[in-house]
């Protein structure tokens, strides 16, 4: 079982879009997939057409519900939904000792091929739980100032987690999403990243494609909503690149 966190504390970089469509792509290739929405804003839960007022991942993490109570079975994958209450759960989780391990413990013995975790735009206890439970993390980003500045913090956090809590965690790659390579800014960010030995960048980039935004309003993945679109092509390629690098063990 491979557990992958999709994380970036910078807002709006494409974490949810990536979690959903990468998960769908893996499911379409006959892998057994679990998606986890760790964001109190419930975007992934909403995007998959799931209720945000039912049982949720927060209750699971605090031992107030079992995995089978919370998991929702969709056509393509299973989902652990989020809930508005996750915000206060993050505070409550934070006060418990060893709280960074709650998600990892709840995933032990589960029989999925891939678990994809959609993280919120922060580096708090929910993101820590995701990273402690993960084999890999993916960082979607644009070629813009604040995202580049924020990358340092993510790498510091994962280094700390690797040393103290989860020795197997590894950066699967930076994923350029709506990255404008033609701007001198985009060029500069690309250059700095390729010079950084701690960082790998996926060969696949996700191009701007309005279908990626529209599909979530219809509770569909890009493959169902617009199978011939750039978005579908790009996420298909990303999935294949990921499987080639890490899929077959």
């Amino acid at each position: 079982m491979k557990v992958i966190s999709i994380t970036n504390n910078k807002g709006g970089t494409g974490k949810t879009t990536t979690s959903y469509n990468l998960g769908a792509a893996l499911a379409n290739r006959n892998h057994k997939v679990l998606l986890i929405d760790l964001d109190a804003q419930c975007n992934l839960t909403i995007a998959t057409g799931t209720s945000t007022t039912g049982r949720h991942i927060g209750e699971l993490l605090l031992g107030e519900a079992s995995f089978d109570d919370v998991v929702v079975k969709k056509d393509l994958f299973d989902l652990l939904p989020a809930h508005r209450m996750l915000l206060s759960f993050e505070y409550r989780i934070n006060t418990e000792p060893d709280s960074g391990f709650f998600l990892a413990e709840n995933l032990e013995g589960k029989e999925y091929d891939f678990v994809i975790i959609d993280c919120p735009p922060s580096l708090g206890s929910l993101t820590v739980n995701a990273l402690v439970a993960s084999d890999f993390f993916v960082v979607p980003m644009q070629g813009e100032n604040f995202a580049y500045v924020g990358l340092d913090e993510i790498l510091q956090l994962t280094t700390k987690i690797k040393r103290r809590m989860n020795p197997r965690i590894k950066l699967a790659g930076i994923l350029f999403n709506r990255f404008d390579m033609r701007t001198k800014f985009g060029q500069m960010v690309l250059q700095k990243l390729t010079q950084n030995p701690m960082v790998r960048v996926f060969e696949t980039s996700i191009r701007q494609d309005v279908s990626l935004m529209e599909s979530t309003a219809f509770a569909q993945s890009i493959f169902e909503y617009a199978p011939d679109s750039r978005g579908a092509s790009d996420f298909g390629k990303l999935c294949d690149e990921l499987l080639e690098l890490y899929g077959e063990e």
Copy 2:
């Protein structure tokens, strides 16, 4: 003194871009301006070329430093900087009774014409502090699915705050940022918003302009970096619209 929160729990909608450039526009029209960075990611602090490792707003809120210890005087405006530690401050603030009033208390008796508060992408205790201290709030958003869905939550929170903690808070307006009116999606969001009596939308929209992103890398407002750009024109218009509606009392 008018206190204005720039808020949206959805990530990447333009809160920091708006805080900085609206603040700069007001300062350019000879108003005395204080900017407050309430985000642990320190984007506004970085955008204004200010250190993120010095004294910060978290220490002020918890009574560990005075206003004069923390405030940084820039050419155009004063700034209360953020710091990475704000994340754990948010947890600590959350456990104190009456913690929603800490910012309001610290702004009492200050002699600015405008105070602009850049909120993080969450509806936690930092955003609550901002709204309890504010006369107005502005919500930057794109014309996309999740932002529209999230607006409901912001309005529920401000209604609660108005009733229990700050009766004067008022929505100054929804600010369309990079809103593509030509997509049927954009049209649908626009229609739903204009039909909602609880909501007003600024006549000014901020168009896509790469100079708005680039300017922060040079620690400049759009007016210094690219005075003839669309971004400068749009934020100038927004400032004038705001002053006309609310400025002269």
